[in-house]
């Protein structure tokens, strides 16, 4: 439009004439003129860029979705643990935009993330004090979720929380452990009740109490909820607080390294991450992100991230030769339909045989599953479901405990990866001695969803305050890996 206007006004057309004569008189002069123009443009561009410090604006076309070039904290993995850490970091920052936090997630659809493939259960019935406290703190968070995660102008968060407690069943052999755990739980403040087999039969007439010596039922702060709602709410809130999100895969790190003396004449290489390499989806392009702190919250993949830093690749017997003990383990969940099954009072039932079961909605649907034997772990290269496992292992045990399930129809099934800690099936939270600026928050093996709000807070405290304030997680430190001192939890499902 402007060009048209300029062309139509004679006064503007006039300067063209000397230009033409200029061209005819000397080609070199024109070249000089162009060069000068270009130099001036460059100077202008530089000035403009300098005038906008910290701005990501650029006159050139960028690949959309590239992460910022630098961030204070880069969180690898946008599952529920990653976003919870991001939220708490922002919540605890003292000034607005005091901290630049970037969450890198490789899969925008979350098709493989454990978070959305989990059963969504929360319980306080653990044997370790730390696990009980983590779940209680998280329950408190979920209780007040809209005080934490409500975003102005958006709908309130609805977790679809179903308040039916977990019901653990113990056999003669394991009854004394259950009793011990009960005392630990009561001591920590959890509301749990023990039931004798006859009380159990009276409360839940549909249970076959054969072989059951004792049962424990969670009365408060237990149940199940929609994991996707929690993940989305955390993400929405964190982003509204200024957390950057980027869809790309972390493929490597650029580090500097220092030699440190650990014992008499024993030296180790201590790395410090300078850049995180983020590869864009479906392209070869990658962007190094300069950062001060990295958080490894990649769930089942966190072991792989640790390997990228050389952890576990060193000579055996040395500290760098001990691998990070988190690996993916496949678990199947089956949705069954049984119109005659138990009703609204169905708890999250955990039988001592390993099989679990809970209600799903009100239409006579249930979800069920169990963990396989250590020696029969399924192949983890894909997420295919083994239906024979249900027929041979799960169903017989389930139908034995709840006879109504002798008649059922499997309506669907899925598989997900536990972020399985092979040492002791508990979370690993803290720093690795060989990498001075990476925090780990992973290895929760089947109870990471319910602990995520509290773990996020604990990690944020560790990063920003230098120590734990709310829940003391020093027992979950990485030290136990090197000392080979597992802290065992007896209630692993």
């Amino acid at each position: 439009m402007w060009r048209k206007l300029l062309a139509s006004v004679p006064a503007f057309r006039a300067p063209k004439a000397p230009c033409r004569s200029f061209k005819s008189s000397s080609r070199r002069a024109e070249k000089d003129f162009n060069k000068e123009l270009e130099a001036q443009f460059r100077a202008f561009r530089e000035k403009a860029a300098a005038a906008l410090p910290g701005s990501d604006w650029s006159p050139f076309e960028l690949t959309p979705g590239l992460p910022p070039e630098r961030a204070d904290v880069v969180i690898v993995g946008g599952g529920v643990v990653g976003w919870s850490i991001a939220y708490w970091l922002k919540k605890k920052e003292r000034v607005r935009d005091g901290l630049r936090v970037l969450v890198v997630e490789k899969d925008p659809t979350y098709s493989q993330a454990s978070t959305v493939l989990s059963c969504g259960g929360i319980r306080q019935q653990f044997s370790l004090k730390e696990n009980i406290q983590l779940s209680m703190t998280s329950a408190d968070f979920l209780k007040n979720i809209n005080n934490h995660l409500w975003v102005v102008n958006e709908d309130p968060v609805d977790l679809q929380f179903n308040h039916s407690g977990y019901l653990f069943l113990a056999s003669e052999k394991s009854a004394h452990i259950m009793e011990e755990n009960y005392h630990t739980q009561r001591h920590a403040g959890a509301k749990v009740a023990l039931l004798s087999p006859s009380q159990l039969k009276e409360r839940y007439p549909w249970i076959n109490t054969e072989g059951v010596a004792l049962a424990s039922l969670g009365l408060e702060n237990e149940g199940w909820f929609d994991p996707w709602s929690l993940l989305n709410a955390l993400r929405r809130k964190a982003m509204s607080m200024g957390v950057y999100q980027c869809f790309g895969e972390v493929t490597g790190f650029r580090c500097s390294s220092n030699v440190a003396e650990i014992a008499d004449d024993d030296f180790v290489d201590v790395k410090r991450i300078k850049y995180v390499n983020v590869q864009m989806p479906n392209s070869l392009e990658y962007q190094p992100v300069e950062t001060a702190i990295v958080v490894n919250a990649a769930g089942a993949n966190s072991g792989k991230i640790a390997t990228m830093l050389g952890i576990g690749l060193g000579p055996k017997e040395s500290i760098s030769g001990i691998p990070f003990p988190v690996e993916p383990r496949k678990r199947f969940v089956y949705v069954v339909h049984c119109p005659d099954g138990p009703g609204l009072d169905t708890p999250f039932l955990i039988d001592y045989s390993g099989v679990y079961c809970r209600r799903e909605g009100l239409g006579g649907n249930y979800i069920t599953g169990m963990s396989p034997e250590e020696t029969e772990e399924p192949d983890v290269s894909n997420l295919d479901v083994d239906h024979d496992f249900f027929q041979e292992k799960v169903w017989p045990r389930l139908a034995n405990r709840i006879p109504a399930f002798e008649q059922l129809k499997v309506s669907s099934a899925w598989a997900g990866f536990y972020d399985y800690n092979t040492l002791d099936q508990n979370g690993i939270v803290g720093m690795h001695p060989l990498v001075s600026n990476m925090y780990f928050a992973t290895g929760f093996s089947g109870h990471g969803l319910q602990q995520s709000p509290a773990v996020g807070l604990a990690v944020a405290e560790l990063i920003l305050d230098g120590g734990y304030k709310t829940v003391n997680l020093s027992a979950f430190d990485l030290k136990r890996i090197f000392l080979r001192e597992p802290i065992l939890e007896s209630n692993i499902v």
Binding site: V116, L117, K143, N147, W150, V152, N153, D155, P156, D158, Q160, F161, N162, H163, S164, K191, R203, L219, E220, N221, G223, D226, W228, V335, H337, P339, D340, G341, G343, L344, D345, E360, G361, L362, G363, G364, N365, I367, S411, S412, W414
Partner: protein, 266 residues
Amino acid sequence: MAASLLSHGMRRCSARTCAAAAVAVRRGLSSAAPPSVFTRLLLKLNNYFYDVEHIVGWNNWARTLLVRSKNTFFGLAQQNFGDNVAAAYYILTLRGSFRFAGQSEWFRPDSSGKFSYDFMSTPDTQIEEVDLSGTIINHDGLDNLVKQNKLQSLSLRGCPEVDDWFLARLHVFGESLVELDVSHCPCVTVGGLAALQNLRKLQRLDISGLSRLQSPGLVRILLEEMLPHCRVTGAEYEQGLIQPDTREPTEEDHEATSANTGVRHL
């Protein structure tokens, strides 16, 4: 079981529920707290001005603060005057009313919220009936009442802050509570009603006007099955169910339902 009788209706119902869930949730929530003209104006302005977010935030914060301050734990009162007096005082400050065990007279504040301190003369009597309808009691405030293990009747009609977490805490009255009214509580869902299974003595339960229940009739049946000695009122059996004669179920319906439940969970 009743579940099997109904499963036919339910299955079709759940397909519908899934589809309508999002809408229903939104509808439920907006009816939970109809925004005032002022709030609506602020929300509108917020679309254009960043700072309005703070005002909306403050508004929300002020309300939270009010609810929190009204529901503080009267630990000092408990220490000095005992659990019963502290509980009675708490109920009256919320403008609720109560009746002591073995007495027929009710204590309630007058229209300006003032009340006499006569209840302090009987510090050893426990409270038997409580009417907190229309008050802003929440799950934290319940701490003041948990020691009342003779409580037989509790009315929470139309309490805006009573939610599922609140209902889940009622197990503390499991050995005494006979009558419970949770009608017209905008935050209560079926997820909280499931927790009432711990109230083994319950005989009367009112669930009318719960805007977030998608099929009150079905919930009533499930509640009656869960609490066999309890009479559930406030919902008709056919409420929220699709009438069987409107459409016959097809095979696709089945497929859709099972796919839906799977997907919804994922």
